[in-house]
Structures are given as structure tokens and as C-alpha cells.
Amino acid sequence: MLPTPEVKHIDYDTVYEPSEDSFLLLDCFEQELSFLTTKFSTTIPIVTEIGTGSGIVTTFLQKNILQKAIYISTDVNPHACKTALHTVKVNNADSESEKSEKSKNEKSTPELVDICQMDLVSAIRPKIDVLLFNPPYVPAGEVPTIPNKEDDSTWLDLALLGGEDGMVITWKVLDSLDSILAENGVAYILFCARNKPDFVANEMTKRGWKVKEIIQRKAGWEVLCVLRFQRL
């Protein structure tokens, strides 16, 4: 089993605490290791996680799955951006034993992760090769508006509440997937059963996407899954 990044330093009143959904994504990528390394064996992919939160998933990928990649992850929440950057740094500060281990093995790569505060991928120059998204998937009356002050108490709501069917934000991403994703790109998006992932998969297949469920798990009273989207 690949090591889980350390995320002990976080203020969970302002940043989403890694939970079953985050860990399902880590397991999903552990499963996808050979698929992704094969797919990007000759190029350096651009990897973006939307709504990176604590940064645990981005860090896990950078440390364990795609080391030779350029990461630009985003979050609207300023607290999440700071936290995610910190998570990356903490987990890349090697101990002496790790360093000597590394020099014995192949040359290590620099840590190329940046965290940008933005709405979804609005300021990223296309195209993205690997897109990950653990969306605000909880069905709610409406999607919360982005606070205009840093000390607002509602930042965390943005990580959770997804409007009708919990799908309002996810559809924004799916609807623009064609312009975001590189020709050979791949997107991983997490769903709960109330998001009607079967319907989403059908709809996206109709639009010309190859959709595959990578992993599924019952977490408390929720059933979570990760779908993978690629062009046909």
C-alpha cells in the first residue's frame, strides 16, 4: 500500500477534512498507477485537481503516482490554498534516510506543484492532461456564493454543497470538459449515489466520452464512486 500524505497540521474549521471520499480517491489512483504511468510514459503531463482542499490527493499523486508531472491545483478557498501548499511542502521535506535511499535509486525529480486560488480552472491555460475533482456533491437548495472576506465562516460550505442533485458544480466541469481536457487527457470525478452517476455516465457517453467506473464503496449511508472520462 502506498503511503498516505501527512495532513496533521490543518485547521478543519476552514478546510475540508480528508474523509472517506478523499481516501476513495487515493485508492482509486493506487489502482490506476500502471494505467497512468503507461499513458504518460513519454510526455510530462499537466495535472490539475479542482478544489484541492487539504491537498492530500494532489500530494498523493505527486509523491506516489505521477512524479514526473507539472501540477497546478486550484481552490476558491484561500485557507485551502495555504493549507494545500503547506501539505505539499511538509510531505516533500525528505528525512535524511529517504535522501540516502533516493541517491541509491534513480535520480529524483523536483516537486512541481503550485496551488492557485481560482474558480474551477478559469485561469488555467488549456489543455490539462489529468483532471481530478472531488466536487461539492451534497444535494442542497442552492450553491453557496463565494465569500468576499477571508475570515468568513462559510468557506467550508463551498466544499460540500452542490445545489440540485449535488450536481450543479460538477455539470459545470463536465459541460466544459471538451475545452479543458487535452486530446489524450483523462478526468477522474467522484460521485455519490444521489448524484445519479449512472445517468451522468449515460449522458456523457452520448456526448462522445468513454466513461468507466474505477472504484465504488459504501461509506456510512453514502455510496461513493469515481468515474473516469476519456475521449473515444
Partner: protein, 129 residues
């Protein structure tokens, strides 16, 4: 924010999406910090393939560096001594140079974005969303 990242971010304003002026952004009042990173010349050669070289030159110039070659160095060989020097310089610039504080201005709409504590902020005020 690493220098490298300037090659992958543009103005977030919708109306600027089709404009060639919205990338790269113009960098000003920047405070730079060098951060030591693993040097891997083979990786660097591959990474160069992903870059828009004109944007690299433009941003480097914004930050006061006029020394880059006008065309992207290609077929660099990490074994050759003169190529080693080029790669080492590129490593220092692209990977190790961090913009800790600064301003980014869109050359199309003139909107100004800020970088604080190494984090660029591309959130737009409601009237521009």
C-alpha cells in the same frame, strides 16, 4: 508560485478567453525567492517540450532577465558540458525561482491579479464573473 507556472496561467475573465493578449500575464512588483530543488536534467529536457518559449522569454523579461535565447533550446544533451550549463540555468529559472509576492496584469483587459505568500489569486469580482 514557481516561474514554471506562469507558462500555464492566463487571465480568468471570460471575454479574454479568445484573446492572444491574455497570455502570458504581465508580471510586476515581484518579490522573488530561490528554493532549492532536485536537479534532474533528463526530466528538464522533457519538461521544455511542454513550454511556450515566447511566454518564458516575456515573463523572464518582466522579472528583469534578458539573457534567454530567442528560440527554445532543443536537442539538449545532458551529457554535453555546454548543454549542462544551459540546463542548470533553466533549472534555476523555471523550477527554483518562486514569485512570492507580486502583481499579474492581463494585457487584454488590464485586470490586475495578486500573488501573496506564493499563491496567485485569480478569483474575479462578481461583475467580471
Amino acid at each position: 508560485m514557481k516561474f514554471l507556472t506562469t507558462n500555464f496561467v492566463k487571465c480568468a475573465v471570460k471575454g479574454c478567453q479568445s484573446s492572444t493578449e491574455s497570455f502570458p500575464l504581465k508580471y510586476s512588483d515581484c518579490q522573488l525567492v530561490q528554493e532549492e530543488q532536485e536537479y534532474n536534467p533528463e526530466f528538464l529536457v522533457h519538461m521544455l517540450e511542454r513550454l511556450d518559449w515566447n511566454a518564458v522569454i516575456q515573463v523572464a523579461r518582466d522579472l528583469g532577465n534578458d539573457s534567454l535565447p530567442p528560440t527554445k533550446p532543443d536537442s539538449l544533451d545532458p551529457i554535453m558540458e555546454e548543454d549542462q550549463a544551459v540546463l542548470k540555468d533553466l533549472h534555476t529559472l523555471l523550477v527554483e525561482t518562486q514569485i512570492v509576492e507580486g502583481r499579474m496584469t492581463c494585457n487584454n483587459c488590464q485586470h490586475v491579479y495578486h500573488i501573496k505568500n506564493s499563491i496567485p489569486n485569480f478569483l474575479l469580482p462578481p461583475h467580471l464573473c
